[in-house]
């Protein structure tokens, strides 16, 4: 088990190197730092001096891969590639293009992100499993059919409509909760209710339908038929046999997204003005802050790979038949 995890972590390294090479290529080779400077300073009134100044302030004035101007190891380290890309492996994200410390920002913004992502995940799971069980229990009847139709309808509505609709209906017309904003400590709760409700509702369509198919898949298996043949009543079969086995794909599906919860939700956070990592990313994209985007790409891929490793471990825990080798 331990050896397996070590191997998986080792396997993650070439992938992270690939991610970094790709972002390095996109940000520094396809477009030179000169282009970035010109975009930031505006196209019209750009003097070569101001471009040089902009680059020097942010450390983009070094050579890309090999610095011939100095001697010794700095030949390789005093370069953009080393400064901006290799250092990411030590989780040293450096400074954003407007001079803020990215690592500090990320640490600060993680909590609000988790404060809405975790409740959404839990509430969503609860609703989806209940709804899916209901449909599976009444499978083939009009309850099931109308449930599936409702799911397809809910799936067909863009997340943006849920958010705007929820804000207008619950926040503006009914005045049940503040439309957007955030506060520290326990005061944050009243700001979190609306995004959590909307986040959970917008996931019902796709989630419940998927879980329903998991349940139905198990419900058609032989051991379930045996259980029924033994004379167990339907609800016992459903909770004891079907639910337990259908939890395997559900749990693994949840585990794989667990690490990415840190990244926050792009839409919800920016619509509700929650200072999490999702809104951080969107702001960076809108301000065209390449340093933050690069840091978030790296962080995102680390968390994704972490999710893949976790899901393998989770498999062995929820399903004793699976052995890692």
């Amino acid at each position: 088990m331990f050896a397996y995890i070590v191997r998986r972590v080792a396997y993650a390294i070439p992938i992270l190197i690939g991610v970094n090479l790709l972002t390095f290529y996109l940000f520094f080779v396809v477009n030179s730092p000169d282009d970035m400077a010109r975009l930031h300073l505006g196209v019209k009134r750009v003097t070569p001096e101001s471009i040089e100044k902009w680059k020097a302030e942010r450390g983009y004035d070094k050579p890309l891969l090999y610095n011939a101007a100095v001697s010794g190891p700095p030949r390789l380290t005093n370069t953009i590639f080393f400064e901006k890309t290799v250092k990411l492996f030590g989780f040293d994200f450096g400074h954003s293009d407007d001079g803020r410390d990215i690592s500090h920002d990320i640490q600060q913004r993680m909590t609000p992100s988790l404060a809405i992502a975790i409740p959404i995940l839990l509430v969503g799971l609860l609703i989806n499993i209940t709804f899916a069980m209901l449909m599976a229990f009444f499978r083939g009847t009009y309850v099931d059919v109308s449930g599936v139709v409702l799911c397809v309808i809910l799936m067909s509505i863009s997340a943006m409509f849920y958010i705007i609709g929820g804000q207008v209906l619950l926040g503006k017309l009914l005045r049940l909760m503040p439309i957007s904003g955030y506060d520290t400590g326990l005061d944050a709760i009243k700001f979190l209710v609306l995004p959590v409700v909307i986040g959970a509702i917008s996931g019902i369509g796709a989630g419940s339908r998927m879980y329903r198919s998991f349940f139905l898949e198990e419900a058609n298996k032989d051991f379930v038929r045996t259980a029924r043949a033994k004379g167990l009543n339907e609800s016992l079969v459903l909770f004891r046999h079907v639910l337990k086995n259908a939890m395997i794909p559900i749990v693994t599906g949840v585990v794989v997204v667990l690490p990415t919860l840190f990244m926050g939700s792009l839409l919800l956070e920016s619509f509700f003005a929650i200072p999490g990592l999702g809104s951080y990313t969107i702001d960076a994209i809108n301000r065209q802050d390449f340093a933050i985007v690069r840091a978030m790409v790296f962080l995102g891929s680390v968390l994704y790979i972490l999710g893949l490793i976790l899901v393998d471990i989770a498999y062995t825990m929820v399903d004793p038949r699976v052995r890692l080798s």
């Binding site: 991610v19 863009s158 891929s301 994704y304």
Partner: protein, 469 residues
């Protein structure tokens, strides 16, 4: 003479149409391929939604025929100048909608502006009032008295026209069915109405009726009013939503077209060749997959923006600039979304590789290329079809989110994402401007719902696992 303009996405759209037509013709002659499609069309929901989808496609295709109007020549020189604006066949048909702009916001079916303005009276005094619209309800002498009567007359006219056309369609369907099954037209129509046809023609006809009614309603009402109101700069919102259809369709379809060759080639190759090729391809898609999709798209779009700002000379018109961004968005969305299909195809080819008929083919000395093209490819096609159809609605929805994040289509391009994005601020206004959001919602929801229902039927028909149950 007008100058036809073929944008990059136009060319690809028509290529796609050609591919689909070729595929359809090929399918017609292969009974084993025809059967699942029959099954799809046999489902009531799927056949109704395919009619809706077809209507969207027609609008989208009309909007893909672009041209630039030749300007009136003032001097005697023979050189022809063209307008900077690129129009489409749809713009031509919707001419009045496009040109009839108001000053600013006006509600659906309004005859007056949504905001008060200071108007100077004839005697020099000034009053604050809601001024009449320049176009909406212009033909009414006294809006308060005539409005409801006018709407009633126009709706009734539309209803009458729709009834006539629907009747005609029913008769034509009957004639077509009668010629195929050698019955009388009356019997054929009776069969349709009693749902005794293999394809649910009654459902198809009813969906058509709804569409025809909507068409005539639009024809009668939208020419005299702004049926979905006007936006901040006074442009007709109905026109904007109709124009947005093309953007949505292009994103939903071209993305798949772009990624398909890669996904098929890589997936089959990885599964068939195994060894280091498999490792390499797996590495490639795990790497691409591990980058958060939105961020990769953002990075690529930022790069494109830098390129476009630094090379303005390559793009003659604003639409061309917007178009290259749309194309680029499709490509980058394709790059982020091919991995799922690739993994599925790899798994399937790994399985097929061990099957007896492929082992037989290999031992008989058939070349690898032939094995892949003759034996593996046809046997994984159902996965490709299912994925393509399933991905469509997700991509249409993704466009809206990306536009909101600021890395979607060009802000000047008509798209549902841009409409929702601007509606976000309008919803915060007092009083609320809700019609942009409503019309984007209606059109997008209809398209995505139809696509979802259709793709469900396709999956049920093509997935052998599901069919056994």
């Amino acid at each position: 003479m007008n100058m036809p303009v073929i944008l990059w996405t136009d060319a690809l759209v028509f290529l796609l149409v050609a591919v689909v037509l070729a595929f359809a013709l090929y399918t017609r002659r292969q009974p084993h391929l025809r059967a699942p499609w029959r099954h799809v069309l046999g489902s009531r929901l799927a056949s109704a939604s395919s009619v809706v989808l077809l209507a969207y496609v027609v609008i989208g295709l009309l909007d893909s025929l672009h041209y630039r109007v030749a300007l009136e020549n003032a001097s005697d020189s023979t050189e022809v100048h063209y307008a900077v604006e690129v129009l489409s066949a749809l713009d031509y048909l919707l001419g009045p909608l496009r040109t009839r702009t108001e000053k600013t916001y006006s509600a659906p079916f309004a005859t007056h502006l949504y905001t008060r303005e200071t108007v100077r009276q004839a005697d020099g005094s000034q009053i604050r009032e809601y001024p009449r619209l320049a176009w909406g309800g212009r033909h009414l002498n006294d809006p308060e008295a005539d409005f409801s009567h006018d709407i009633l007359v126009r709706t009734a006219t539309a209803g009458l026209q729709a009834v006539l056309l629907c009747g005609l369609i029913l008769v034509l369907l009957g004639v077509w069915l009668a010629r195929r099954s050698q019955r009388t037209v009356g019997r054929a129509i009776g069969n349709i109405l009693a749902q005794r046809t293999r394809t649910p023609l009654l459902i198809i006809w009813m969906t058509l009726c709804v569409l025809v009614l909507l068409f005539f309603l639009a024809l009668n009402l939208a020419t005299a009013y702004h049926v979905f109101g006007t936006d901040k700069v006074g442009q007709d919102v109905f026109y904007q939503t109709l124009k947005s259809i093309r953007t949505g369709l292009v994103i939903g379809t071209l993305t798949t077209l772009v990624m398909l060759p890669f996904a098929i080639l890589m997936g089959i190759l990885a599964g068939y060749a195994r060894g280091w090729i498999d490792d390499l391809i797996q590495y490639l898609y795990t790497t691409l997959n591990s980058i958060p999709g939105v961020l990769l798209i953002a990075a690529a779009i930022l790069m494109l923006q830098v390129y476009v700002t630094n090379h303005p000379e390559n793009f003659e018109t604003a639409l061309e600039r917007a178009d290259i961004r749309l194309l680029f968005l499709c490509i980058i969305l394709g790059i982020t979304s091919w991995t799922g299909l690739c993994r599925l195809l790899r798994g399937e080819s790994l399985k097929l590789r061990e099957s007896e008929y492929i082992k037989a083919a290999v031992s008989l000395g058939v070349s690898h290329f032939k094995v892949i093209s003759k034996h593996i490819l046809p046997n994984v096609m159902h996965i490709v079809v299912i994925t393509v159809v399933l991905d469509f609605s997700g991509l249409v929805l993704a466009e809206a989110v990306l536009s909101y994040v600021g890395v979607g289509v060009d802000p000047t391009m008509n798209s549902w994402g841009n409409m929702i994005n601007s509606a976000r601020l309008e919803m915060a206004r007092e009083p609320v401007v809700w019609w942009s959001l409503l019309s984007a919602f209606l059109f997008m929801f209809t398209l995505v719902l139809a696509a979802n229902l259709f793709s469900d039927a396709v999956r049920d028909a093509f997935d052998p696992r599901l069919r056994q149950r």
